[in-house]
Symmetry: C2
Subunit: 213 residues, 2 copies
DNA sequence: TAGATTGTTAATCGATTAACAATC
DNA sequence: TAGATTGTTAATCGATTAACAATC
């Protein structure tokens, strides 16, 4: 579809998508790089560069068509088809992800949850099927799942990654606070909540130092 | 303490900290930039540059002392003192954060949770005090909280940010899928889970395209 | 046509990598 | 001392910003 898109641009795509969706909802039909830049805290120049890495959408003198651009970015990110998720780990985090309806609405439905202790969890997850991890080999292959969500302790994550890899899974959304090692044909996206909290802590410190001087 | 540390380095600090902690636990006393680089998937050169932005720790011919370096990074990130958190929003995400014991262990204890519907939530959060949001003005100031965690719908987040700002809060950990606007003396760290999922989706797409060609 | 705003090239800036002298 | 590995300077690379001609 498009040529090569740099990592820096890809990391901004979800934000573009979010803002364009909001603009569309607000009834805005077109927007200039200037106005979008003000809104997203980016320079107009950067926005024009970014958007031009995936094709000429703008019209000189007018700006960019909101809906068309939004739909294109949506397609680039692959949001025009469904990605079924299986969650491994039924702790609070696993259950929070399982029950957040927003993901399913955006095309990422959770189809099952695996945990050691199925009884405890079944109670709190309503409609979602819950299975013992021991049945992973038997059940996962039939689920047509694209993404495995790892919501388990750091110590267990690496082993589980290898286990789901051997079952054909090539995409992992990792919530365990560990840097996993994985083959080149696998994609792992980390959500390291502590890291994020630690950076926040650093910035609080800086702020306080600034205030003192 | 240290001079200016670039944002690129700061984003890597939590990973350094995590790996050094693991090495320490494994009984490793010193490590070379080469070995740490292999482990963290960074070049030795980058590691030496990074570490040198905050002072000369290494010894030529030997490498870096694991514990000393870890403790220093810990101090830079401000993890040597406590940051009390208050969570606003008692949905699954708010409760998941509240009950993850790891944060408290690392110096980020949650001291209270605010929500509209206190009864429903009180049941599932054990020891944590739960209050109605209407009592925020009355209760928050006495709590000595440094960080407010926003775990509520996107529509409510901006207004709540302004509300806690006026109560003296200067640090926000935001889980709402919204780009908030905030004053310069405030620090906001976003955890945009959908963004992360969308980037994963993009990479799955790429992978599949690569496989086809 | 005139005004606005893009697409795109060139300039700048910052981050990463390479190289090597300093030194443990 | 010899070998290893840092600290640091220089080179490279990539991303961001500036500028302006093209064009709606």
């Amino acid at each position: 579809m498009a040529g090569y898109i740099s990592d820096a641009v890809i990391r901004r795509l979800p934000a573009y998508y979010r803002h364009l969706r909001e603009l569309e909802d607000a009834g805005v039909k077109q927007i200039s790089s200037q106005d979008l830049g003000d809104r997203m805290q980016l320079t107009p120049s950067q926005i024009r560069q970014d958007i031009n890495t995936f094709g000429g959408f703008g019209r000189q003198g007018y700006g960019y068509p909101v809906t068309e651009l939004k739909e294109h970015i949506r397609a680039i990110m692959g949001l025009d088809h469904e990605h079924r998720m299986v969650i491994i780990g039924g702790g609070r985090m696993g259950r929070a992800i399982a029950s957040y309806a927003g993901f399913a609405r955006e095309g990422f439905p959770t189809v099952a949850l695996f945990d050691q202790d199925t009884v405890r969890i079944q109670m709190s997850t309503e409609a979602l099927p819950v299975y013992p991890v021991a049945e992973l080999e038997e059940r996962l292959p039939g689920m047509a799942a694209k993404i495995v969500v790892l919501a388990l302790p750091a110590e267990a994550a690496q082993e589980m990654l290898e286990r789901v890899y051997s079952l054909g899974i090539r995409a992992v959304w990792n919530f365990a606070p560990a840097d996993l090692v994985y083959p080149r044909d696998m994609t792992v996206m980390n959500v390291h909540l502590s890291d994020s909290l630690h950076i926040l802590s650093y910035r609080i410190n800086q702020q306080e130092e600034d205030a003192r001087s």
